[in-house]
Symmetry: C2
Subunit: 371 residues, 2 copies
């Protein structure tokens, strides 16, 4: 007891009593069982066979540290984006970059302006930097209230966080909203746009935020990942486009360049080459999501009109209970922000059979719960 006490006193205030959140945990009864994993916004398909092949080849060299600047991939992204490769840096998933972006800009008690509905890790990031956070309520339809975000900026604000599409709403910003946020966020405030679901948005006819962001006068960072549309969540590779080399170097200091694993760059180059496979993933995803939306309409359930590989649905019954009943049937789903209150669930895209089993289970469970 004395020990535990003295341990705590050695931690900074913001790191005390933090508990532990592990959404990736596999429960004992799930090991080896057939489980539909529809709670982590993963791609239900394995990576492209060409990716798997590239990893097999690279595995023999894992005694070596790779070049964390991913020179060949940076070159490729530079050509695509027309940004110099010095302004592109890499993270262990874009998740690592989220933390680093906050670290390079926000000191203890300085202000971050953030949408209220964001992926739960953002709450963790805000705590890591001991920020004072102004949470701005989302609009009635779940969308990010861009005007309100900008109005909430104060003299202590160092960072404005925007996500398009946003997790867990699945909604994207309009061209006008992106324009507003890029040009009305003051020049002394870092503007951070997370585009983890970028490829899905583009497929759904969304706007490429980068083309607008490039004309912003103040500093900015935009992050993307290979976790979702390239079926590589477990590879841990994301990247950031930065407004300047100065910002990119600050991020590289925060992450260190020993952060990227030795199979990641080769795997991603193979994934980018296999455009047919990415098309297959995006098309399959759109099809499965449309089945869910159609069934929701049949059942009279409202949902947020997601363009991504997950969807948040108002089931009209206590969400925690429904999530548990699904899990008892071997179907892992979640709630928008992992909360156990309210009536929204969040489900990610599955294989056709998984979608079908989920929808059957949903109808049955709702039948039980409504009685």
């Amino acid at each position: 007891m004395v020990k535990e006490q003295s341990d705590k006193s050695a931690l900074r205030d913001n790191f005390r009593d933090v508990g532990f959140w592990n959404p990736t945990q596999i429960l004992p009864h799930e090991i080896g069982a057939v489980i539909h994993r529809m709670d982590l916004n993963e791609c239900p398909h394995p990576p492209s066979p060409r990716v798997v092949e590239a990893i097999k080849l690279a595995a023999n060299d894992l005694n070596r540290y790779p070049d964390g600047t991913c020179p060949e991939l940076a070159e490729r992204l530079s050509e695509q984006s027309k940004l110099p490769k010095e302004q592109i840096c890499f993270g262990g998933g874009s998740t690592q970059l989220l933390t680093s972006i906050a670290e390079i800009t926000v000191g203890p008690n300085e202000n971050i302006v953030s949408p209220e509905i964001v992926w739960r890790r953002f709450q963790g990031v805000y705590r890591v930097v001991a920020a004072d956070v102004t949470f701005v309520p989302n609009k009635d339809n779940g969308g990010i209230a861009v005007d309100q975000l900008i109005k909430s900026i104060n003299n202590q604000t160092k960072l404005l966080v925007v996500l398009t599409p946003n997790n867990p709403t699945g909604l994207m910003l309009s061209e006008e909203e992106i324009y507003t946020v890029c040009h009305e966020t003051p020049e002394n405030v870092m503007l951070f746009i997370d585009e983890a679901y970028y490829e899905f948005a583009l497929f759904a006819g969304g706007v490429d935020a980068l083309s607008i962001l490039k004309n912003r006068k103040g500093p900015w960072v935009l992050t993307r990942t290979f976790s979702k549309a390239y079926a590589l969540a477990g590879l841990r590779l994301g990247y950031a486009f930065c407004s300047s080399e100065e910002v990119a170097n600050a991020l590289r200091l925060a992450t260190s360049t020993f952060n990227v694993n030795g199979v990641a760059e080769k795997a991603v180059l193979a994934a980018l080459d296999d455009t047919e496979y990415t098309k297959f993933i995006l098309e399959s995803n759109a099809l499965e999501m449309s089945k869910i939306k159609t069934k929701c309409q049949e059942l009279g359930l409202k949902y947020m009109d997601s363009v991504t590989n997950f969807i948040s649905i108002d089931v009209g019954v206590p969400n925690g209970e429904l999530v548990q009943k699904m899990r008892d049937r071997g179907i892992r789903i979640s709630t928008p922000g992992y909360e156990q209150t309210g009536t929204f669930i969040r489900v990610s895209s599955g294989l056709p059979e998984e979608t079908s089993n989920f929808l059957i289970a949903l109808e049955e469970i709702l039948g039980e719960m409504r009685n």
Copy 2:
């Protein structure tokens, strides 16, 4: 120009003008050429074939996020260490954990006591947390001056850093020194022991710091990695033993649990199973290092008596120039802390042919430079 200016003002002071350090960079003329990589303290042998096999199997599942608590590996390390698995956490290499340990304990301008001679990334870590650092000179033989470290602790000290064996000296602490640091570091100060080269130390008859550390009254963290003795630098998996679950959870918040890639746990379990291969790596390393030491004696060169897979040698001529001449011959070596002043070089263990080529080159270059 105006742009660059405003970018900088959005960064915290400690992240401005940080430049960029990338020791893993492969120079253009080295791509595809036969290069002896003896500058990064890597293992010159590929990973065990069983590891490569495990990675091939795991690659198909990379569309999924792995459980970042590495449950099976944590169980194994828990059995070995007799620490509960709740007190064991994982990082993207122990490198990530170094940063996180500083983050959970040290606020801006708070004090860290550190040996003066440490791996260069530590300087980066200290800058990330904007610490006030008291650097304590090493002893004449290069060893860490434990008594001086403890005497340097002040009222603002939150973290004491010790490394055994230390990079870049390769020297380990004696049992008595470990005992001193564990029991004389005040209970309100976090004691951090880095054991990245643990397996080499143990092989050389060194002490297991953990057994002593466990009896410390105050908080502590000890880190190790699979990068070195298991030939898995590119896998990015390190771990931390913590004095309590409270400390481990703080680290997990800082790193997030989305930090470990999806092939890492399986690969490491295979590496731990292949004890013959690890023995081969440790024995080969000892043999190659002894060849270097013997040749140094012949050439009348002093060296630090490293127990690890690298060695720092006083070549008596400007080190930067000698490093460049080696690199021109396709042999990558470095200096202890990557500095370009002084007369010490640092070289890591190679394959037999690489050791031989390095030693021939060393004799020839010294011959040239002394004339």
